[in-house]
């Protein structure tokens, strides 16, 4: 064959592969309001012209059930690497237009290859899921494929950031690859995740539930906690993903990228929380008053809202923020909040991102349901995660830091690098009301006017213990600062302490 002929032959073959499942399938995909796999990778995710595709010519070799007559472009998945805001990433995108994006042996081998590239190059892995599930015709070969992907998700955990974007169905065993990754994105009306779908539930259990209610985007973002980011559209999700990447290093050996420092839009004054400790306020407003450009990227915004976690910058350096949210459930710790915080802390520790903990919590949520749901073993995860973390750990006590929750929220005792309290901080074994009721129980009961006596004792306890000075005297907090000094103080700490973790490396197990 002449060179010219071979080039033409190549171009013909190429064009046959590039449009995936063909016109009709693409039209169907579009009707569902979805982009094609190629549009997602080349237009929405990667910088223009940076995509280098691998394994476009891979074909399956299945002979059963008429599969030998079926040619599946790229075997239903697009793989390769490219750049996001000029930083390299590895990527795979399942192509629903080709055999419903079903996962067969060749399909999974392509994903495995790109995962190995991510490991070798030390670059983030981004997976876009849009698949009907296992390719039934391939039987156990398909299961082998899932297993090999799960194995690599686990081995890559804590080594390079792994991000999943659910842009279609992701059901049965397929859900476990995203669940093993660090961050899962879902998109309104497009994403669906479940182990058993509505039809199976109807047949087996006789229960009616829609796909959306069972495992739609908001369900995953707010009820199950499987998703970390909820997008209104595919473009919205990819924009957030790019922003997320901007906080992360390419791998666990690198420091996170540093940007130009920008002052917060509304810096904190000295009067930022309500006088009354019982009154709620939104901790996110406090965070925005401290961080660069008041820019806070919240993670799991809709799940366990009594705990707020997310990324921001201080003088250009990324930090992971963990904060009690007095606005919701008074900022208590509970089962879900513990899991949410612990996993976020461990992610940050994997990738050298310093931690900033903002404390205002009355303690743990009481109740039989919490105890029976295992608040002991879930709560222990926060203690473990903070104690294990060897990145710089900074703690600001804003108001209430009571009892076990005080210890858990990155106290000095769990190895905090720096702990400061605002002047209104209350570091005590419990709130004044509860403490007075216990300590002065007999006196209150014996008093002529028990209620007056109770109030008096509460004031007495408050005066003595509901302040930061008892802890400061012992050196358990390093300093007391006005809230207006918070940002400058934290920047001083960050510029002084070691820049990366010193502990042993670990993965980011789903918690």
């Amino acid at each position: 064959m002449s060179i010219k002929k071979s080039v033409n032959d190549f171009l013909t073959r190429l064009s046959g592969k590039l449009d995936g499942g063909g016109e009709k399938a693409i039209e169907k995909q579009k009707k569902k309001g979805k982009n094609t796999a190629r549009e997602r990778v080349e237009d929405l995710l990667l910088d223009e012209g940076t995509f280098l595709e691998t394994d476009l010519f891979v074909e399956h070799s299945v002979k059963d059930f008429g599969m030998d007559r079926k040619e599946l472009a790229g075997d239903g998945v697009i793989t390769g690497y490219g750049k996001v805001r000029n930083r390299p990433v590895a990527v795979f995108a399942q192509d629903f237009t080709v055999a419903g994006g079903s996962l067969g042996r060749a399909h999974s081998k392509k994903i495995v290859k790109v995962m190995d590239i991510a490991a070798e190059a030390g670059i983030p892995l981004i997976g876009i899921n849009d698949s009907g599930g296992a390719r039934i015709q391939e039987g156990v070969e398909s299961l082998c494929g899932y297993g090999e992907i799960f194995y690599r998700n686990t081995k890559l955990s804590g080594v390079v950031p792994q991000i999943s974007v659910i842009l279609g169905p992701c059901a049965g065993g397929a859900v476990y690859s995203p669940a093993l990754t660090d961050f899962v994105f879902v998109v309104d009306t497009i994403s669906n995740m479940f182990i058993t779908g509505p039809q199976v539930i109807k047949t087996v259990l006789g229960e009616d539930i829609t796909q959306e209610e069972l495992g739609g985007a908001m369900t995953q973002a707010s009820i199950t906690g499987n998703a970390h980011f909820y997008g209104k559209s595919e473009a919205d999700a990819f924009n957030t993903l790019k922003k997320l990447l901007s906080f992360l290093p390419a791998n666990s050996k690198e420091a996170p990228p540093v940007s130009k420092p920008i002052l917060p839009a509304n810096p904190l004054g000295d009067d930022v929380i309500p006088d009354n400790r019982r009154q709620a306020y939104c901790v996110k407003e406090i965070i925005r008053g401290i961080v660069d450009a008041s820019d806070f990227l919240e993670v799991q915004e809709h799940y366990a809202r009594n705990m707020v976690v997310g990324f921001a910058r201080l003088a250009g350096r990324p930090v992971g923020i963990i904060a009690n949210q007095p606005r919701v459930l008074a900022g208590v710790l509970d089962v879900n909040a513990s899991d949410k915080a612990a996993r976020f802390i461990r992610f940050c520790d994997c990738f050298n991102i310093p931690l900033l903990t903002m404390v205002d919590t009355p303690g743990y949520l009481p109740g039989a349901d919490q105890e029976h749901a295992g608040v002991i073993r879930h709560g222990a995860k926060i203690l473990y995660a903070y104690s294990e973390a060897s990145v710089p750990k900074m703690t600001i006590i804003m108001r209430k830091a009571y009892g076990g929750a005080y210890i858990a929220m990155c106290s000095r005792h769990l190895g905090a690098t720096f702990v400061a309290s605002w002047p209104c901080g209350e570091i005590a074994v419990m709130g004044p009301e509860g403490a007075a009721n216990i300590i002065f129980r007999k006196e209150i009961a014996a008093a002529d006017d028990p209620e007056a006596c109770r109030q008096e004792k509460i004031s007495e306890y408050e005066e003595k213990f509901a302040n930061p000075y008892v802890a400061a005297k012992k050196g358990y907090i390093d300093t007391i600062i006005r809230s207006s000094e918070t940002r400058d103080t934290l920047i001083k700490v960050l510029s002084t302490v070691r820049q990366s973790r010193t502990g042993h490396p670990h993965g980011n197990i789903p918690l």
């Binding site: 087996v204 919701v328 900022g331 109740g367 349901d369 009301e433």
Partner: protein, 105 residues
């Protein structure tokens, strides 16, 4: 998104805060062993006892077809079979009362 503020008491202090739906579930108490209920929705295949039978703890009372399995439903206590509320072939919902047991105290 401004949600309604409620009251939440922690250690004697009352906080004004948002209390999301289902965030605090009341304790439902232990199940009454005199009431045999379906632990899962399904179909009754066979009833192994009759009203008035004396049964031991662990006696198989009926078979419930659910999750592709014939599940044996056993008595948690020794006693007499009281009323039986279902027949073979009946579809039952989760927590539906299937039979009563009269437990000798």
């Amino acid at each position: 998104m401004k949600n309604k503020l409620d009251k939440l008491v922690i250690d004697g202090t009352e906080y004004v805060t948002e209390v999301p739906e289902n965030s605090i579930k009341p304790y439902e108490g232990q199940q009454d062993p005199s009431e045999i209920k379906a632990f899962i929705p399904g179909t009754i295949i066979d009833i192994k006892v009759s009203e008035g039978d004396l049964i031991e703890q662990g006696t198989v009372l009926l078979l419930l077809d659910a999750m592709k399995m014939h599940n044996e439903i056993c008595s948690g206590k020794r006693g007499l079979i009281g009323r039986i509320h279902v027949s073979p072939g009946d579809m039952v919902q989760k927590d539906q009362l299937l039979m009563n047991i009269i437990i000798n105290k």
